[in-house]
């Protein structure tokens, strides 16, 4: 009896040890391959960006011209960069004030019960899966100053309408691009809101209705507060996306005319790859990163923190 127990305890110990070993092997075997590619192509380049940003370097030959924070000083003094940052911030503001409320309104509309709801949902979300290049080329055609769709449409509706060069006018181009950004991305926020609304128990709204709340009051005091978490998240995604926007703008205007639609990312591309100023371009990348990180930290601490408690 007792010897049997000892035996099984020994066997158990051996088995436990072998489990511990096999666990270690699994942990290593499962983590090392992804870690290699992740360190090689994500983390190291990030660290290198910081390092290169301290040099003047064209990407060829040895790193010799140490300039310290000189590149950063140049960036912050460059009017083109500052205005590019300004354009990013305009896109951020317009997205939050126009694109997201539109997406929310549509999600609420569909939730209220509309014939063909599933089809509408599919259509609204469709532009989000299309490529930025396809979207940009189609909209360049629509904005074409010689009788593109937009001018033709406005000409038909407004008497005496003079054709506008939507992408050629420095005063208009950013807003014309914002229309395309909205067309392309509202579907993502619409889908997030739709998913968020599904999680709200209908009893709460029914209770408010029984208490005599109007449709607006129900929305204002029950539905939207309950959707808070989703809204905060969608604002977060929208801001980061707007700060990093590149593809659509590059396809439609390459940042022009005369830098009127330049963003931080198009500025980075122009310096880093077109002029091969790797050091300066890296410094731009670091500034872009610091801005995104500062926003992310501030937002998570101040605004999203309540969602985790």
């Amino acid at each position: 009896m007792s010897s049997g127990a000892t035996k099984s305890a020994v066997a158990y110990g051996v088995r436990a040890r072998s489990i511990r070993w096999s666990k270690l092997l699994v942990v290593l075997g499962f983590l090392v391959p992804p870690a290699v590619i992740y360190i090689w192509l994500v983390l190291l380049p990030m660290a290198q960006a910081v390092f290169y940003s301290l040099y003047r370097w064209n990407g060829l030959g040895p790193l010799q011209h140490f300039v310290g924070l000189g590149n950063y000083e140049l960036i912050l003094r460059d009017r083109v960069f500052i205005s590019a940052l300004g354009h990013n911030l305009i896109i951020v503001a317009l997205s939050i004030c126009i694109q997201l409320p539109l997406a929310l309104a549509l999600a609420l509309l569909l939730r209220g019960g509309v014939p063909g709801r599933a089809a509408f949902r599919m259509i609204f979300f469709l532009p989000y899966v299309l490529s930025e290049v396809v979207t940009g080329v189609i909209w360049s055609f629509i904005y074409n100053p010689q009788n593109g769709l937009m001018n033709a449409l406005l000409g038909a509706v407004i008497p005496g309408f003079k054709p506008i060069g939507w992408l050629g006018d420095p005063g208009i181009v950013l807003y014309a691009l914002f229309v395309v950004i909205t067309w392309k991305y509202f579907g993502l926020h619409f889908i997030l809101y739709t998913a968020g609304l599904q999680d709200i128990p209908s009893e709460l709204e029914e209770a408010a209705e029984i208490d005599g709340a109007s449709t607006w009051q129900k929305l204002r005091y029950v539905t939207i507060p309950l959707l808070g978490r989703t809204i905060r998240l969608s604002v977060f995604l929208s801001v980061l996306g707007s700060l990093q926007i590149f593809d659509l703008i590059w396809v439609m205007t390459t940042g022009g005319p005369v830098n009127a639609s330049e963003t931080m990312a198009t500025y980075l591309y122009k310096f880093g790859f077109q002029r091969f100023a790797i050091g300066y371009g890296s410094a731009v990348a670091v500034v872009l990163f610091v801005i995104c990180l500062a926003f992310a930290i501030f937002y998570q601490r101040q605004i999203m923190s309540r969602d985790y408690s």
Partner: protein
Amino acid sequence: MASVSYSPPASRQALKFIRFGLCLFVALLVLVPLVTAALGGLKTNAELFANPFGLPSTPQWSNYRSVLSEPTFWQELRNSTIVMLLTAIGVLVLSSMPAFVFSRLQFPGRELLFGFFTLGLLFPIAVAILPLYITLRQFHLIDTLWAVVLPQVAFGLPSNIVILRGFFAAVPKELEEAAFIDGVGYVGFFLRILLPLVRPALAAVFVLTLVASWNNFFLPLLVLNSQQNYTLPLGIMQFQGQHSTDWAMVLAFVTLSLVPTIIFYLFAERHIVSGLTAGAVKG
């Protein structure tokens, strides 16, 4: 039935009608540009500018035919497909492994390692792109499809590890214990029990990665130089540059490159949506 309503049926009907009208209006705003592009490809350039939105008077299939007879179109389609599949397989394999370790195994330092892997969520690819370019050049990968695939996999890891970890953690512990009693071990449990159980999550990750790779423009723009290696988005840009005055032809090209995306979307919409909402909620 259960919901209590004080509004008379007539105004309810009217409200429903207004809602439908608004949705229809937005749906038109979404669809008109796409339909215009598809129809534009069927017109001559003269007609395109005389009548940009109407139906073509006589459909000119020659635009579509000449795009389809261009070897570059097929080459670009092929490149995009190869890059997309390799990226999605790479992301699926390399993010499900750490997701398993971080969701099912207990060991000291686990949270620290998990934090290390999710650090990448903070870095948009634009920030690392210049040193990445230099790295790829050192390994002689520039102007090969690997220069697109490998960074796409690497940058896809953090978010997908987070998504999959959430799904893996939801699998009941009892199944794991049962697996150990049957003596299948960790790897057997992972491959034969866990992965089949979370198929919907794997499908979501796979499909989202496919779409992102298919549409990617920034990275291919930087690392692919010769036309034979171009992916479709680059091909469209190049084609537009070459035929800048021939809008009908450009629209035919764009429409043809849209067809696979839209067919795919019709089949995979459910997975795309579930992947996005899961990622958003958990990330």
